[in-house]
Amino acid sequence: MKALWRSGEPFVWLTGGALGIALIMVVGLVGLVLVNALGFFWPSEVVRVTLSDGSALTGQVAERESVPGRPGQYRVKLQVGNRDLVGADFVWADESRITTRERPRDVVAVERTEWGVLIGTIRELREDGRVVASGPAVWEAARPRLAEAAHVRAEIRRVETGEIGTINRLQERIRLAMRRLELRGTTGGAEIDALRAQATALQARYAQQEARLTELRRRQTASLVVVAEGGKEKEQPLSQIVRVSFPNRMGLLAKSGYYAARVWEFVAASPRESNTEGGVFPAIFGTVMMVMIMSVMVTPLGVLAAFYLREYARQGAFVSVVRIAVNNLAGVPSIVFGVFGVGFFIYFVGGTIDRVFFAEALPTPTFGTGGILWASLTLALLTIPVVIVATEEGLAAIPGGAREAALALGATKLETTLRVVLPAVMPSILTGLILAMARAAGEVAPLMITGVVKLAPSLPLDGVWPFVHLERKFMHLGFHIFDVGFQSPNVDAARPMVFTTTLLLLGLVVLMNAFAIVLRNRLRRRYASAAV
């Protein structure tokens, strides 16, 4: 026994075991996310089951589990869709009560912009209330019309959010300009007249776009009649159809195409149905932009602070206390940073900016409310200890000889710092930045009170001057996960979104980190590997 202990083997087992447990937990978590997320977009077949009481259900099998309290018995969760017809998307069916199962070939799954998926069989195609096609000919007739409908829908959306949105913002700008003049006591004169003329011109532009919208809407006349389980008929306007598929007819190739289309929609489109369907593009955009603004803020600040602490401050009790305080800052609950962000950045700084520069808009706040700038600043504050600590460690690792050598050559302290110390500490700074970015991308709590919203009407970066709108609220993947998972009205439909969004956020963090790591390694290689 003693010999065994002296051999050191048990300690090797202990260390290996610790690493093993850590790995199992990480791999398990990532695996769980992967399995749940990757399978979600794969089209599952639609089954029609008849129950022992004679009723029938048609839907996609979403889940299978053992019945609680009755071992050996299972039940399946069917996504029957047709929320507008039957009330609930999902129905549980005990397998003991299922008498027959079949896979009807003609069953169709229609994804819609509203009310979720519609499952049934196509009966006919109508245009202006007249039947254009029925029976097997419907699909051939409907396909070009579906493409046309999608095109019109995109056009309507472009007009609504692009053209009319711009007009609205310009009108608001004119209103504010007039209000500003009014605050100064000007109620008439050339300036006001000019603004009024602009407003009239905008009104004309608006009327034009409005007419165009009406025109476009008039073209949306076609509809598809679908018979749902139980014989109920639903006349579904083509304008609200996102995608039509025949899950039981699809081969592997068709399924792969469907999968790719769904994945693309997920990363590139805006959310629908209170975020439970559609894509998460605004959230990806908001997350990346917020992390970038945060990086731009936190890096110079943290690096400069670390330089003062290590290079200039007289090392003593006070500096030690400051250093401990900075390290402990990393242990403050993130929500506390959020509260500080609300109190200091939003109310104090933002409120002051509003009073000084945006007085005409009050009482509507401009910067005095949550926005991407304040959220980024709050996170910069949260992550600054990480950058300071990493930079300080890097500075401590630079051999003192390098500084002495530069000074002995007649360089000033500033020249030494900028030309010798800063390049040498660059890899450590990037390490700090990597850690800060990973932390910031996953943080949710402080964002909830400093500017993240469930659904942001516009991105913080767009084509309207001044292009970058730091005062705007934004969407964030981390908050999206919370919102979809816990605040959603349709939990069953939303749950897969939680996993896919988590996977996406993970991927995003890995991507941003990979970029920073490549950059750091390139810097390291330039300064060779030999021990200093």
Binding site: R314, P399, G401, A402, E404, A405, A406, L407, A408, L409, G410, A411, T412, E415, R419, V420, P423, A424, R526, Y527, A528, S529, A530, A531, V532
Partner: protein
Amino acid sequence: MTPDVSVVAGLRSMDADTAILESAMVEIEHLSLWYGTKQALRDISMSVPKHRVTAYIGPSGCGKSTLLRCLNRMNDLVDGVRVEGRIRIGGTDVHDASVDVTELRKRVGMVFQKSNPFPKSIFENVAFGPRILGVRNREDLAGIVERSLRAAALWDEVQDRLADSALGLSGGQQQRLCIARAVAVEPDVLLMDEPCSALDPIATAKIEELMLELKASYTIVIVTHNMQQAARVSDYTGFLLLGELVEFGVTRELFTNPKNRKTEDYITGRFG
């Protein structure tokens, strides 16, 4: 500005017949130095002759490095240092208020015990000093770098990889690179603080050879632990003990015929 002051080298402890008339580059008068309350140098007076190699020897902690670092005021970087007495280099008092310490250090180059190249390319290491002096022209810099590397007998080994990191060089090469870096700004005096203590015998021999070549252009002051080295390369040697300059004189004289009992004990290995 360098008055051709002829002084007797080794003012103390030298007989008139062994005294050699040399032109002094560095003159130290009654120099004392304290780290806080601890006195590290006690009333040292001597002069370092121009274009000669002068060595300081002595046991660890005797103050020889401290004395060396007084010459380019590197001791200023240490907290709580107090200096009394005068040091003149080329006739200028280095502690004079009008002296810019960075200017002084450009005239008094230094090579350290541990080779300390910057984590930059070989070229940038040598070009660092000239760049600080304001040389911007790429061709001028290339010329200075080549001349300095040739002066440090390193050119043939590195001319094909000037853009590579200096940290990839061997220990001896790194130390010669540090010498090239120091001579690139053309100082009057070159201080070397135990430059070979971390090197193998072959690299040490190369550096010693180099010192003998460099003394044609520079005044060299070297601190060494190694008495054989002092005997081989130096023209003058000073023996320090507990912050005092016990004996200073022509190297051959000091090693063969020491005037002071303590010097004799040290060089014969009775302590140290």
